[in-house]
Symmetry: C2
Subunit: 771 residues, 2 copies
């Protein structure tokens, strides 16, 4: 296998495609950097069932897991989304950014994870307790990144055809992955050097390990010589080094079984290698490897990168992927002791790698680590150019890390710890990431090609462990749940719960009203006329009543007449005539004065109540209207289109006109405390403010909203009610409109008031969660 | 009350508005004009529950009943729709066009109507048998028109306010209707003259009556002197003349109760007056009249007009309505014998009215009927002008009938009978109407502002006696059924049976395919690409396979490449590049050769299967293509838009181009038997032919269609399947598309093959009918 084969067989697009998955572990900690003693947050549901957010060994050790995606950027973005969720859902706790633990208690006090409904629960718990006995509980708290990778089946097909079509496909495929594994083990020291980031410790860690580091005050210890304490002798390793054969799958499985039989490890999964071969079967890993072959590889070398909210930077992932391709083409030596050499190099680089003069072994010969590293990176650069992968920039960064050890994550982290102290330095980073997650909480990275309302629903589903299937992002179409409970959702509230005619009823205002009225729901009386004659025939009942007469599709109030004291037949018909100048259908409707409220009804419950206020600014005696708008527009929720819960206020002609009516100009300075409305309409889409009123609104009106939705059998329904005084049950009110596909994001992220978890209501209505 | 009050109080629109309802009775007869001895057609369901089509006294006497509408044209149109349904649903029988019966058997053989589930069935049957005893069975077979009329409540309100605001409203309203009744009884002779049309008889009628007429051969008898045998002494009347008081409601009810108590009639409903006052209550008519007041009036004078398919002409209805207004304003005389005089005039005019010198009585004085009639019509003309009713033309026709008795319906009918014989003449008319109904069977008069598919559904509902509520014609929105079973339907197949997401799934072809594939339904493999790069990454699996590559929204085949022998990766990507020139989304899809069939699946059943053939003509060796198209376009099913089941073929540029490819021009004469296609696409909307294949299609493929619909949980679904050879179950096939809101009219009225009752499937799926 050589570069030419890749070059001739694949397009660069195919080479950049694969199946990528990421796991990131991390401890939950208090604001002081102490291990959180609280249980895994209930909102994440049953740990065994949540495919995205679970725990590892300890109850306080969160593990986020991305599904497999075909590109690095998508996989990375989803990881970011998951980390944001964790940051936002762990209350006042923080997501510890480093591989080595925070301030931790002694073994007996480390909360071991409890899995509700776990299979063979007793045995499993005994296994976890056994790990404490064998390795110590503190070591179990070390966290890292797992990078799961496989080529696509199509890639294997083409490679098979190009290289060895005569071989059985399964053997060929296993051979490819075995080569990758062997080469990875040979070159893993480079990953440790480049990505290592566990060069500091807290005093509460295992004393024998702490003592290997340099104290820098404040219970802080640093490793100045090497990048990765986690990958050193004091990291998470088997008690004795184990070297199974990687020549064939069968030899490998036989060896591992032998280790187990000899009691060296308690189960195959206790073999802590830097890279694992994964099979289809999870419980019967060895049998499945033999039977089904290697499915994908799990790389376990990577430390959490404290300089990234996700624990790993995207460029490092890009590097790792190309590294896989490099390992695929790189010829293997026939050195017999390659496994031992690989382990020695690993441990040496982990502990002493920051020494630019470090010598390691290459096929038994001593070589400069730096020179060897640069050689590999040069080959990768050449590969990048030949295969047009576009990774030049990333490889340059890696080369820089080799030339300048002080640019490595490990070095920079040790510096921080030395300056700020271990807990303080790490907590500063944790706080930064938590704030970053909070500020962008209204969206979900990895899914930001969906409308906000769908992002919110996906976020809630992932949080609760409901599997999400992406069906068609362009159409905001997703699948939720598994098995029989699998259901499809479009635009967050279009579901199988609503029947088609209910939606069509709501789509037609005339029909909605007719049906509501038939069911005894209080709607403003009204009719549509399609001709003046028709109006003249039917205007009678409205004479002398408070009514609005308007063109059916009205813009900016043109052609609207309001008779709030009632009008004569002649006056009304005159208004009809005016309205017909603007549309071929004219509506006459009972006029109800008051404020309009949006009730979001989901599955017979009021999920939220909102008041919408027209775009406005409040003066401070100093700034002009334009300046005040600029400031208001900086709010993180304000954006454009479907990507933000609030919209930026635009100072356009209409605003100008509206201000002119108030004898104001953009440049005017408003007196302190004076609120000025910039538009007549209160739509959020034109910069209006949303104010949550869910708690303030009395049950009486909530019941009305629920009944209105029920009258057309709507499960998802935005009920618009005008109420003169919501505090008074006897206040005049009227249901103005029922809306299908109601906005949920304006309730989830209002300008003022409590943020409502609309996704929760949706998932509950769909029967996907219970509370 | 005078004309000025109407003029000052109402607009002409208000004067033309009212509540109108029509009932038309008519006998079912054999082709020979004999009374049908078959039961009421089962398709009309239970006679007691069908509000539109039921029977009267005899099982063979169909009665159609329109709901109440606010204008004459709508009411009339619905009547026409109902008559069309009867004509089309009574098999090889005919709807007898005259009031006086056809060739009827003796009393004992006249089938008395049986009502399944009738209340007090025995008593009711005894009542009907009693009628035979008292009046003879033959008289019960006389049919007529009932014209139900009331002013709108708003009209009464305004009149009340204008005329006598001090009076209690109920008394005022009763007073208005009582005046109308009294005046109607005074002037009814005019209606008999103008609309009378029972001037002929068959020999089989009651001998004493037959003997009053003039024999004209062929068992036929005519009345040359008068217009309405039905309203003469031999018509449907009480044994002795009864004159209840019409001064107040209370006096009236007391008198009627008195008639019953004395045994003059068996029940209030046996009082056969020319006009009836109707109340809210039906079973307790007298009590309800007193309690609730008069609700509407029923005019029972009108003979069936043999010259109209509906038994009454629209202009006669217009006249009757204005006649009501005339009676409202016309002052009453204080002649004590007015009731007797009215009856005398009625009988005289009915039997002798065609004599231009006939004298009748006006307040005891002898006057010329002609002069008096012209006087009334002149007043009505004046009224028409004053109130701007626009009825001038109608009144002119009526005046003409007075001046020329030979222009009356009665005279003209007698002429026909004299010339053609009674049965032959009437049957010729019946046949004409039946053919007319058959030729327009695809639409439903009175509802032709709806799309054809909705008309078909409404027609089926009305036929089966399922109540139809018109919700929004513009939106093709209707309500069906009553009470708990009431359900709403838009565009015939948008119902509460389909859930919203199912529809959205079908709306998105990519999503549909994904879900079908997940459920194991055989769909052509395929994908969408939104960029060339994406396509390049994923094209692999399609290399060497039969595929089509096309822009997502394709027009006229531009940018489409078909690889029916498979293509290389390079070829496929070239095709992708071409397709991207036409759209920003490109589809690659497995290519399946064969013919496309549309399976209409409703509620898990295949309602119909259709093959669509591109617009085409077949030559005869004589006509040019243009001429052949003209002929084909004359087919009654071919029209424009949503109003016809087939569309007219248009010879446009595309057709020209398509012919050019075949080296043909519009002016070419095609050889006999040669079929030429005028377009590449087979859409019905561009003039394609629809060919029903329901019976030919094997169950195997029908099951596939049902499963495909089920895979997305669709209740209403148009499944498009390409099948290479439908006669062979092993034939390659693939499901191309699932369509919500599938067309039903193309199955109901195909160009070739059996017409399928799609409405039946819809009603059954909705649970509104059982078979």
């Amino acid at each position: 296998m050589n570069l030419d084969i890749l070059k001739n067989t694949f397009t660069s697009n195919e080479l950049l495609t694969g199946d990528f998955g990421l796991e990131r572990e991390g401890l939950r900690v208090t604001a002081a950097g102490k291990l959180a003693m609280t249980p895994h947050p209930a909102i994440f549901g049953n740990k065994l069932k949540n495919p995205y957010i679970t725990t590892d060994f300890s109850e306080s050790q969160v593990e986020v897991v991305t599904p497999a995606y075909d590109t690095v950027p998508k996989t990375y973005a989803v990881l970011e989304g998951l980390c944001d969720i964790v940051n936002n859902e762990i209350g006042d706790e923080y997501f510890w950014p480093q591989s080595m633990p925070c301030d931790i208690p002694e073994d007996g006090d480390i909360p071991i994870a409890v899995y509700e409904g776990e299979k063979d629960a007793e045995a499993a718990m005994a296994y976890r307790k056994g790990l404490i006995e064998r390795y110590g509980g503190k070591k179990q708290l070390i966290s890292g990144i797992h990078f799961n990778f496989s080529f696509t089946e199509r890639f294997i097909d083409k490679l098979h055809a190009a290289v060895a079509p005569e071989k059985p496909r399964k053997d060929f495929k296993d051979g490819v992955y075995l080569k990758l594994v062997r080469n990875y083990l040979r070159y893993r020291w480079l990953v440790i050097y480049l990505l290592g980031c566990s060069s500091a410790l807290h005093k509460s860690y295992i004393p024998e390990c702490v003592s290997q580091m340099e104290p820098v005050g404040d219970d802080s210890y640093v490793l100045k010589t090497g990048p990765s304490f986690r990958n050193s002798i004091c990291g998470y390793k088997n008690k004795i080094a184990l070297f199974p054969s990687y020549r064939t799958v069968r030899e490998y499985t036989a060896d591992v079984q032998n280790f187990v039989d000899k009691g060296l490890i308690s189960a195959p999964k206790e073999l802590y290698t830097q890279i694992r071969m994964k099979a289809k079967g999870v419980d019967n890993i060895l049998e499945s490897l033999e039977e089904d072959g290697i499915k994908y590889l799990e790389i376990r070398t990577v430390d959490l990168n404290v300089f990234d909210k996700c624990g790993i930077a995207e460029k490092d992932l890009v590097f790792l992927h190309q590294f896989m391709l490099y390992l695929l083409v790189e010829e293997e030596s026939d050195d017999a002791d390659w496994q031992k050499e690989g382990l020695e190099n690993e441990e040496k680089v982990a502990f002493f790698g920051l020494d630019p003069n470090l010598m390691i072994r290459q096929n038994g010969k001593e070589v400069s680590m730096t020179r060897w590293a640069l050689e590999i990176l040069e080959k990768m650069q050449k590969m990048d150019i030949e295969l047009e992968l576009g990774n030049g920039g990333v490889l340059k960064v890696m080369t820089d890390r080799v030339i300048h050890p002080e640019h490595t994550y490990a070095y920079r982290m040790a510096e921080i710890v030395e300056k700020e102290g271990y807990l303080k330095g790490m907590m500063r980073l944790a706080e930064t990431y938590k704030k970053e997650s909070h500020d962008t909480r209204y969206l979900l990275k990895g899914f930001d090609n969906y409308e906000l309302s769908t992002q919110i629903l996906i976020k809630e589903a992932i949080t609760r462990g409901v599997p999400v299937e992406e069906i068609d992002p362009q159409d905001n179409f997703i699948g939720l749940g598994r098995g029989d409970k699998k259901t499809y959702v479009k635009q967050a509230t279009k579901t199988e719960l609503d029947n088609y005619i209910t939606v069509l009823v709501m789509e037609n205002k005339v029909v909605t009203k007719k049906i509501m009225a038939q069911k005894g729901i209080p709607v403003p009386a009204g009719e549509e006329f399609s001709s003046y004659d028709e109006a003249a025939r039917r205007i009678g009942p409205y004479v002398g009543k408070k009514v609005v007469i308007k063109p059916k599709s009205t813009n900016y109030g043109l052609g609207i007449c309001i008779f709030d004291q009632g009008g004569s037949e002649k006056d009304l018909l005159e208004a009809v005539e005016i309205a017909f100048e603007y549309d071929k259908t004219v509506i006459i409707e009972e006029f109800i004065p008051g404020q309009e409220y949006r009730f979001l009804v989901i599955g017979g419950e009021v999920a939220a109540v909102l008041k919408r206020v027209p775009a406005n600014v409040t003066g401070d005696g100093v700034h002009t209207i334009t300046q005040l708008v600029d400031v208001k527009n900086r709010h993180p929720f304000r954006g454009y289109g479907y990507t933000a819960p609030l919209k930026k206020i635009e100072l356009d002609e209409q605003t100008e006109l509206y201000l002119k009516q108030q004898e104001l100009k953009f440049g005017d300075v408003l007196p302190d405390g004076k609120t000025v409305y910039l538009r007549g309409n209160s739509n959020i889409s034109t910069g209006g403010d949303s104010i949550d009123m869910t708690d303030e609104m009395p049950d009486f009106f909530k019941r009305i909203a629920v009944e209105a939705a029920a009258s057309v059998k709507a499960v998802f329904c935005g009920v618009d009610i005008i109420i003169e005084d919501y505090r008074d049950e006897k206040s005049p009110f009227g249901i103005i409109e029922l809306n299908f596909n109601p906005s949920t994001d304006m309730h989830a992220y209002p300008y003022q008031g409590t943020e409502r978890r609309t996704g929760e209501f949706i998932l509950r209505a769909l029967g996907l969660i219970e509370n």
